[in-house]
Symmetry: C2
Subunit: 318 residues, 2 copies
Amino acid sequence: MDLPTLSDIQSAHKRISPFIHRTPVLTSQQLNSIFKCELFFKCENFQKVGAFKFRGATNAVLSIDGERKKNGVVTHSSGNHAAALALAARMNGIKAFIVMPETAPEVKKKAVAGYGALITYCKPTLQAREESCSEIMEKEGATLIHPYDNFNVICGQGTAALELLEDFSGLDTIIAPVGGGGLMSGTSTCAKGIDGKITIIGAEPLNANDAWKSFKSGQLTPSANPSTIADGLLTSLSELTFAIIRKNVDDIYTVTEESIIASMMLIWERMKIIIEPSSATVLAVIRENPGFFEGRRVGLILSGGNVDLRKLPFSSFS
Amino acid sequence: MDLPTLSDIQSAHKRISPFIHRTPVLTSQQLNSIFKCELFFKCENFQKVGAFKFRGATNAVLSIDGERKKNGVVTHSSGNHAAALALAARMNGIKAFIVMPETAPEVKKKAVAGYGALITYCKPTLQAREESCSEIMEKEGATLIHPYDNFNVICGQGTAALELLEDFSGLDTIIAPVGGGGLMSGTSTCAKGIDGKITIIGAEPLNANDAWKSFKSGQLTPSANPSTIADGLLTSLSELTFAIIRKNVDDIYTVTEESIIASMMLIWERMKIIIEPSSATVLAVIRENPGFFEGRRVGLILSGGNVDLRKLPFSSFS
């Protein structure tokens, strides 16, 4: 299996830089004081389409051969990758076919439609998604851009950590969320490539802990019916992302639903920025393991900010 | 009556700069495209204590004579000014006595207590607030720092516009919210002092439209029982702020509650930042008067970001 290197991520960054936002890295004296460590938040919630996924999708679209481009791209996604691929395709003047589960959040359906993609709804199972994708690939000749099981997508996702480490050197830990493992793979490849001493930690919901199980057992173990408020982290690792994570990641921590919501609320209240539950897992790791991070300089990848404001988890939360 | 000048605001800026955040000015391609104008958002929601009020409070505290400082400061406030004065006092090592209406949002009570202020709760009437304040002034010898009817507070509030116009020249309009008129007074004095051709517009809830009534009639006309989701704008102009606004402000626009909520939601969803309803009034002015601002370069003061996340207005909003 061909694993990406730091150099692949640096090339991806050159390729996508004209198209992406260089997102800010924010700090918060209040949160530093609460958790007794220095936190550096890489704000991909401010990325185009509101998520880091635009990096990987753009790199993948720009990497397709000229002739194949005209048939467009196709993918299945619970949301952010769909919007990301739709916009990346539109910015390059090619068609995007998006297969979405009918249960996807309304705000994400609207976003994808708004970027001019051709949407096919399917049942919310991996099998239904993959079948719809295959049909479109066959009929249209479109190139499949998988949300995470894709070399170029992974290289694109790694560029967030590249910018973070350009802006702030001397970080001793980086924490990123783990869903399908695309962001974790890119982040860990990049950070270990720059400095092998940086500790790389994955943050995963306890209720969708396939990466934790796979990492601890050494056997790829997909989730069965995961259920978490962190709807961007429902997917399971692929052979490719598992191989990269085994090689580069130091540990994976699981976090509870209560801790995800509490951490999301802390970031909303103290930093006045909107992040989605998947992003909150990284602070939840620190919240659940306070002694471990004391005195450290920790980079945190905030993966996105797409939430349905009509369905927030705070109203009955104390 | 002694009215502040641009030079007073410039002096205030020098005085408070070591203590305040220089907040960013954000733009949004999506919102520019929706409203067909160029919008420049001065993000005082990222200011210390989550509101522009920290500027005025800090300038007022730093302007007290050495001897009087040791008796502390006192004020009454529905929230943001209270937190601002509490923190400004603490940073200068003096006591802060805060009179708050018992109906103030929980998040604001917590913030004030967190900054170590001595809180006295009172009935939610102007009379009850003022009586409690007078008692504390008499007993403790504390200096009253009124939320807006105060020369030094007004000069401090004007520094947000000063930074906005340093960062982006060539704005042809600036819109700020109007409650008691402190921010509007400082903003308009600063902007007209820099460039008399900039149009200065106040944004006021229709349900708390004392400034609009006063401005249009030429007679100071306080609100009777105002009720609006923009809880920072319930207060009425004072003689001082009315005099400044009559001199410097070009017009005041009122906005509906529905429009305030829709504008708040637009900023949350598109910009991924948290603003309070009072801040949303400035975009609501543009939303309700679209033709008027087409093609203009408009500066908007986002006054703060303190909301109670357990009581958001979005759940039943379509």
